[in-house]
């Protein structure tokens, strides 16, 4: 414990302190100090200082949360959540922090520890072993913006909460403010919205109102909602918001009276309105879904029908890369698919030579 912590405690004591199991109350010219069920009546500031010295973890804990940790309510609550402050007593917490306390936030593994009396934080990808010496080390939160731009295959990630965060890096020895900033660069606004949700203040905007707000080239999405039907929005949520596609937990529904039939997911942090990617996709779907169904006649063998289904499934689940070159038992295998094209497509690319009827 540092002298500065004790000085601050003595200075603040006159206003009373009650925090995380440490109570100091002015009483009759002196103070009553209560910690862990023990009660001490002390008369002078020096006595207070002496008693406080016996509880170094409580004093440094009080000091940290009032003088070192970021004071913005959501950042503060997030840091408390990381070390389980609401579930563990101060001594339990300090013991745990000596070893390191770990939480998962999306694909981030966040470890809090106490080092030389100060809380320090490390961040890495959940799929990496934090102790791995080959991980690239970072300590500037601003670098996170570049790290999150591409996935492990080098593809651009337009959705920050897609479960495709790059591996192979770690942020080490961050102070609390830098920890929160790094998390905010990886998953923007998740801390703020998570906290709003916990305090009953999450401002969810459902599908209908979000579409009605759109203008310009996106204004057309409003015409996709007709009557009472909302099946199309189920499909959107299933396509885009599933945990396999996005780590936010979808809290928006069709409107405030109509829940979607699709599960919102299990993410730690909420999604409060359809995001810009969903709106862009909805614009495209609004146009495509305006078409009338036609009847086409194709002749396919049973295996070919199943193969078409398998190809759709493999693309939708992002499995195509993983299908082995010579695995001709998988319908979405490249040779199998090329064979299907060679056999069934005409020179214009029409399936079974059947033209697409634009009528």
């Amino acid at each position: 414990m540092q002298g500065a912590h004790l000085d601050a405690l003595v200075t603040t004591a006159a206003d009373g302190i009650a925090f995380d199991g440490l109570v100091v109350e002015p009483d009759d010219g002196g103070y009553v100090v209560e910690v862990d069920g023990d009660s001490h009546a002390v008369e002078t500031d020096d006595d207070l200082r002496r008693v406080a010295t016996e509880y170094p973890a409580y004093v440094s804990n009080w000091y940290f949360w009032h003088a070192s940790a970021p004071q913005k309510a959501d950042r503060w609550a997030f840091l408390r959540w990381i070390e389980g402050a609401e579930e563990r007593t101060v001594p339990e917490r300090y013991n745990a922090l000596a070893e390191g306390v770990t939480q998962t936030w999306g694909q981030l593994r966040i470890t809090a520890r106490i080092d030389d009396g100060n809380r320090r934080y490390d961040i890495s990808h959940v799929d990496d072993t934090a102790a791995d010496a080959t991980l690239e080390r970072y300590d500037d939160p601003l670098d996170a913006r570049t790290l999150v731009k591409h996935d492990d295959d080098g593809k651009y990630r337009p959705l920050k909460t897609a479960p495709t965060l790059r591996t192979g890096w770690q942020f080490v020895d961050l102070d609390p403010a830098d920890l929160v900033q790094t998390v905010e660069f990886v998953y923007p606004a998740t801390v703020a919205n998570w906290h709003r949700e916990r305090t009953g203040d999450l401002d969810v905007n459902h599908w209908r109102e979000t579409m009605e707000r759109q203008s310009g080239i996106y204004g057309v999405v409003q015409t996709w909602d007709r009557g009472k039907g909302y099946e199309h929005v189920n499909w959107v949520a299933e396509a885009c918001c599933d945990d396999s596609q996005c780590l936010k937990r979808r809290e928006w529904e069709y409107d405030d009276e109509t829940e979607l039939d699709v599960d919102g997911g299990d993410g730690e942090f909420p999604c409060r309105e359809p995001c810009s990617l969903v709106i862009s996709a909805a614009r495209r779907w609004t146009k495509l879904e305006g078409e009338q169904p036609q009847t086409y006649e194709f002749e396919l063998t049973p295996s070919e029908k199943e193969q078409v289904e398998r190809i759709v499934e493999a693309v939708a689940d992002g499995e195509t890369e993983a299908i082995r070159e010579a695995d001709v038992y998988d319908g979405a295998n490249r040779y199998r698919t090329r064979f299907l094209r060679a056999k069934l497509f005409d020179d214009e690319g029409n399936l079974c030579g059947v033209e697409t009827d634009a009528e």
């Binding site: 913005k72 651009y156 337009p158 909460t161 923007p188 606004a189 703020a192 203008s215 310009g216 810009s276």
Partner: protein, 291 residues
């Protein structure tokens, strides 16, 4: 506490679209003029809708990193940031003279000083000139050179052409370049005929765009016949019809652009101390005089 929030377009498809925004934000962070600096995007995250709640400051200077006044600055940004009682008349602008309006954000209660776009600030003329210096690698470029300032025409937004003409006129009045001409992508005078509009042998072409992308990397170089196929690239300068064309790419990537963002906020009342001078000297704009 005061924060600077930069509002930029961003992209679902191109990873590089946000890079200039990050770079300028970092330049401003480095001079510590604000307690917080945060980038926000229409197509990326933090989204316009949610950036304010990530900012601690009660006083926010919101500067659109857009080229002209119009749909984005008048409708999209105020709506998405939930600026209560916004109306474009608050800027009292003739299309290039938006300054600032002070509003409250409905969801966070923060005071938002909503500034006009970077692109129409007077300091932008200096950035265009600086861009010409960068591409020619000549701090005194001007004599014997023509300068073309390029943008969309009025097809998408009438003010977009106004912003181009505004800066072309201002730079023209300085008599630094032998000729200065505004050119457009979708109307006359068209960028396709760039060599017909200049007598000078050397022409610097500066597109007034925030970030490089389809228009600045593919369209404009091909339209000017710098190359048949943008993928094969082009030389700087490239000779076309006997003129040497020095094509600079998007003006928004010029480091001095950070100064414009800062000046927008300072004009709106932000206390930035000597940050403007420091940013100018760090981004090569120290010599760039006002008018």
């Amino acid at each position: 506490m005061q924060a600077l929030v930069i509002a930029a377009h961003g992209s679902h498809l191109s990873a590089g679209s946000s890079t200039p925004t990050f770079d300028h934000a970092d330049t401003i962070r480095a001079v510590s003029a604000f307690d917080e600096v945060r980038e926000s995007f229409w197509k990326e995250e933090p989204h316009f809708r949610e950036v304010l709640r990530t900012v601690d400051a009660d006083e926010v200077y919101l500067v659109p990193l857009f080229i002209s006044e119009g749909y984005f600055t008048e409708q999209v940004i105020p709506r998405e940031f939930r600026l209560e009682e916004w109306e474009p008349e608050l800027w009292d602008s003739d299309g290039t003279s938006a300054d600032t309006a002070t509003l409250t954000a409905e969801d966070t209660g923060q005071t938002i000083h909503y500034c006009g776009p970077a692109g129409t600030h007077d300091a932008m003329s200096d950035v265009i000139v600086q861009r010409a210096q960068s591409v020619t690698d000549d701090p005194d470029v001007g004599d014997g050179f023509g300068l073309a300032v390029v943008g969309h025409g009025t097809e998408r937004n009438e003010n977009s052409a106004k912003a181009i003409e505004y800066h072309a006129d201002r730079i023209g009045e300085r008599d630094r370049f032998d000729e200065v001409q505004a050119l457009f992508m979708d109307e006359d005078p068209e960028i396709d005929d760039v060599t017909e509009y200049f007598e000078s042998d050397d022409i610097v072409v500066v597109p007034l765009f925030v970030a490089d992308g389809y228009h600045t990397e593919e369209d404009i170089p091909e339209d000017m016949r710098l190359t048949d196929d943008y993928r094969t690239g082009y030389d700087v300068p490239t000779t076309v019809d006997g003129h040497d064309i020095w094509y600079s790419g998007a003006v928004g990537t010029e480091p001095l652009m950070a100064d414009v963002l800062l000046e927008r906020a300072a004009d709106a009342g932000a206390d930035v101390g000597d940050a403007i001078q420091r940013v100018k000297s760090e981004t090569g704009g120290a010599e760039a005089s006002g008018d």
